[in-house]
C-alpha cells in the first residue's frame, strides 16, 4: 500500500519562490561575474560615513553611485538584458548586524539570504570553469564548488553549522590548491582568474540586491550595517606580564587626555570604485586629532604586512574628517602586485582628543584647589597668619569641591571613556579641598595642620600639572576655527577659578586677601557685563 496520495491532474499548483527564481540564476551568475570583474567601470563612487555609536560600536553607511551597464544579446536584435540580481559587493562570510539597503527614494531593497546566494556563487564558479577550459564541468567538480561556497541543496540550514561550513569550504579550497598535476582540479587552480574566484568565494559571499535595475540608468543605493571594534594591541619586545602593564599604562595615559585615543577600521572599498570617500564625524565634545587613509601591501600566502603603509589622504584637527582617493586600481599596479604575490588592504587610522571646553573646567578646578592651598600656605609663612578655624572658613576652603559637580561630560560612551581619567582628577581635587577644609574644623596638634596642607598642596599641584598637560594637548589638537570660542570658555573658567580662589583665600584674616577678592569680583563683573552688552548688540 502506497503512503503517497494519488496525483491529480489539473489540481492547484504552488510555485515556491526558490522554484520561480531557479531559471534566472544562470543569468545572475554570469552577469555577477562580469560586473564584479570590472567594478570600477560601472561604480562611480563609494562614499562611506562612519558614526561612533559608543565606545566599541560603529555604524557604517555607504552610498554606492553607479550606472547599470547594458548587456545586449547579439543573437536577438536590440534586446537588452534586465538585471534582477545586482552584486553590490563581496562580503565576508559573517552575520551582518542591522543590515539595511535602500534606494534613492528611501525604500528598503531585499537582500538575498545565504541560501539564496550560495547557488548563484556555485553557478558563477561553474560558468567561469566552463568558459576557461571550454569543457563541461563534471559533477565531481560541481560538488566541490558547492562545498566551497556553502551550497548544500536539499539540506536544512540548521543541519550544517557555521563552523562546519567554513571547514568544508577550506577543505574544498585545499583540494584545488594541492591537487595532483594533470588533473582537472590542478588545471583550474593554475588559471589565475579561477584561482582568484576560488580564493575569494571560499570565505566571502556576494551581496546581491534584488530589484529592477534598468540598463544605462544612474542609481544611488545606500547600505548600512553595524560593526564592533576589536581590541588589538602590540608591544614591541615586551613579554607577559610587562606587555599587560605597558598596555594598562598606555590606557591610563590616554584616559588622562595626555595622548589622543587611537582607533582604526578597514576600508576595502577604496579599491572597488572610480573614487572613494570616507567621512568620520567626531562625537560631541571630541575632535578628530588626526585621520589617515592608508593602503598596505600584504602577502597573498600568509596575509602578513609587507613594508610600511602608504598614506593616501590625511587630515588633522577637524570636527569631521573627509578623506578621499581616486584611481587607486590602475591595471599596471595590479599586475605588479600579482607578480609579487601580494594584495592591498586599506584602512583609516583615526585619533580623537577631548575638546578644550571639556578639559578647561578640570584645569580650573584643580588649579583652584592648588591655589587655595598654595596661597594659604604662602600667607601662613609670609604673614605668620593662620586660617580662621571655624565652620564658615571650612566652607570657604571647600569651595573647589563644590564645583566638582559642574564638570561632567555628555552621555556618549566614547566621551565618557576618554574622560575617565580626568573625572578621577576632578574627584581627587574635590577630596583634597574637603580634607583641607576638614583640618579647619578638627582640633589638631601644633604643626599638623600646616604639614597636612603642604602634603595636600603638593598632591594638588601634581593634579594641576596633569590637567595642564591635558589642556595643552587639547589645545594642540583643536581646529583653529573653533579655537576662538574655546578660548572664551577657557578665560571664563579662569575668571570663575580666580573668583573662587579669592573667596577661598578670604578664610585667612589678612586684609590683602579681602582686597584681592573685591578686585577680582569687580573685574569678573566688568568682563561679564561687557560680554552681556556685546551679546545684546549682536541681537537682531
Amino acid at each position: 500500500m502506497s503512503a503517497n496520495p494519488p496525483k491529480r491532474a489539473g489540481g492547484p499548483r504552488v510555485e515556491w519562490p526558490a522554484q520561480r527564481d531557479a531559471p534566472s540564476l544562470p543569468r545572475a551568475a554570469a552577469l555577477a561575474l562580469v560586473l564584479l570583474n570590472a567594478e570600477s567601470r560601472w561604480i562611480h563612487r563609494r562614499v562611506e560615513s562612519i558614526d561612533f555609536l559608543d565606545e566599541v560600536r560603529l555604524r557604517r553607511r555607504m552610498s554606492i553611485d553607479f550606472t547599470t551597464p547594458s548587456f545586449r544579446d547579439p543573437t536577438a536584435v536590440d534586446e537588452v538584458l534586465s538585471i534582477e540580481f545586482l552584486p553590490l559587493m563581496v562580503i565576508k562570510r559573517e552575520p551582518l548586524n542591522s543590515l539595511d539597503v535602500r534606494d534613492e527614494t528611501g525604500s528598503a531593497l531585499p537582500v538575498l539570504t545565504r541560501d539564496q546566494n550560495a547557488p548563484i556563487a556555485s553557478l558563477l564558479l561553474q560558468t567561469a570553469a566552463r568558459s576557461l577550459r571550454r569543457k563541461r564541468v563534471v559533477s565531481e567538480i560541481r560538488e566541490l564548488f558547492d562545498e566551497l561556497v556553502g551550497n548544500f541543496p536539499g539540506v536544512e540550514a540548521a543541519a550544517i553549522g557555521d563552523e562546519e561550513r567554513s571547514l568544508r569550504s577550506q577543505i574544498a579550497l585545499a583540494r584545488f590548491r594541492f591537487a595532483t598535476r594533470r588533473t582537472s582540479l590542478h588545471d583550474l587552480w593554475e588559471r589565475p582568474q579561477m584561482q582568484r574566484w576560488l580564493q575569494e568565494l571560499s570565505d566571502q559571499f556576494i551581496l546581491f540586491v534584488r530589484g529592477d535595475f534598468e540598463a544605462g540608468k544612474r542609481r544611488v543605493l545606500k547600505l548600512s550595517y553595524e560593526t564592533t571594534l576589536d581590541q588589538t594591541w602590540t608591544s614591541l619586545g615586551f613579554s607577559f606580564p610587562f606587555r599587560w602593564l605597558a598596555f594598562k599604562l598606555r590606557k591610563a595615559v590616554e584616559a588622562l587626555g595626555l595622548i589622543p585615543y587611537s582607533t582604526g577600521f578597514a576600508t576595502p572599498s577604496l579599491f572597488d570604485a572610480e573614487s572613494y570617500h570616507v567621512e568620520v564625524l567626531a562625537p560631541d565634545q571630541l575632535i578628530v586629532a588626526s585621520a589617515k587613509l592608508t593602503r598596505q601591501s600584504k602577502s597573498r600566502e600568509t596575509g602578513e604586512k609587507i613594508g610600511p603603509p602608504r598614506i593616501v589622504d590625511e587630515q588633522r584637527s577637524r570636527d569631521r574628517v573627509h578623506l578621499y582617493a581616486s584611481g587607486t586600481t590602475p591595471s599596471a599596479a595590479q599586475d605588479a602586485l600579482l607578480e609579487a604575490g601580494e594584495y592591498e588592504d586599506a584602512q583609516v587610522e583615526i585619533s580623537f582628543a577631548l575638546r578644550m571646553t571639556l578639559v578647561a573646567p578640570v584645569l580650573a578646578l584643580s588649579g583652584l584647589t592648588t591655589g587655595v592651598l598654595g596661597g594659604g600656605l604662602l600667607l601662613h609663612y609670609t604673614h605668620r597668619t593662620h586660617p580662621l578655624a571655624d565652620a564658615s572658613a571650612a566652607l570657604i576652603v571647600a569651595v573647589p569641591g563644590l564645583f566638582a559637580g559642574w564638570v561632567a561630560p555628555g552621555g556618549h560612551r566614547l566621551v565618557q571613556r576618554l574622560f575617565k581619567g580626568l573625572r578621577l582628577l576632578v574627584f581627587f581635587s574635590a577630596l583634597v579641598s574637603f580634607l583641607a577644609a576638614a583640618t579647619l574644623v578638627v582640633r589638631l596638634p601644633a604643626g599638623w595642620r600646616s604639614a597636612t596642607w603642604q602634603g595636600l598642596a603638593i598632591a594638588s599641584a601634581v593634579t594641576t600639572l596633569i590637567a595642564t598637560l591635558a589642556f595643552i594637548r587639547s589645545w594642540l589638537c583643536s581646529p583653529s576655527a573653533s579655537k576662538g570660542h574655546q578660548v572664551e570658555v577657557f578665560w571664563a573658567s579662569v575668571a570663575s577659578a580666580a573668583v573662587a580662589l579669592a573667596l577661598g583665600l578670604s578664610a585667612f584674616p589678612v586684609w590683602e586677601t579681602w582686597l584681592a577678592f573685591a578686585v577680582v569680583v569687580l573685574v569678573a563683573m566688568l568682563i561679564g557685563g561687557r560680554r552681556s552688552l556685546r551679546g545684546w548688540e549682536n541681537e537682531p
Binding site: 534566472s24 562580469v34 557604517r60 575569494e200 560593526t227 578597514a266 576595502p268 572599498s269 595590479q334
Partner: protein, 102 residues
C-alpha cells in the same frame, strides 16, 4: 619533632654525599659567594638598557580596530578578467539561444 630531626639528618647526609661526589655548588658555597660580592661599579650599559626600556614603552601601542564587513578583492590582471567576462557572456548567450537557460 622526630620527623624534623630525621629530615635534617637526611639533608646533611645528602650535602655530604654531593660534596663527596664533587658537586660544584653546595649551600655553604653559595653563602660564601654572596658574602664575597662587592658593590658593583657604575656600568653605563645599565643606563642604556633603561633608556631602551623607556623607548619600548613609548612604542607600545594598541588600538581598537573595526573590521569592515566588505570582503577583500584580490588583484587581477584586467586583460585576463575582461577575456573571461567576454567568454562567459558568449557562453551564456549561446545557452540562451539554445534554450538551455532563460
Amino acid at each position: 619533632m622526630l620527623k624534623k630531626k630525621r629530615s635534617v639528618a637526611k639533608g646533611v647526609k645528602a650535602a655530604k654525599t654531593s660534596r663527596a661526589k664533587g658537586a660544584t655548588v653546595a649551600i655553604s658555597d653559595v653563602a660564601k659567594s654572596d658574602v664575597k660580592t662587592s658593590v658593583p661599579k657604575f656600568d653605563p650599559s645599565g643606563v642604556t638598557d633603561h633608556l631602551r626600556l623607556v623607548s619600548r614603552l613609548e612604542d607600545t601601542t594598541y588600538s581598537l580596530f573595526g573590521d569592515s564587513a566588505e570582503g577583500i578583492r584580490l588583484p587581477s590582471n584586467q586583460k585576463q578578467a575582461d577575456e573571461l567576462s567576454e567568454a562567459v557572456l558568449e557562453d551564456y548567450f549561446a545557452d540562451r539561444h539554445a534554450g538551455r537557460v532563460s
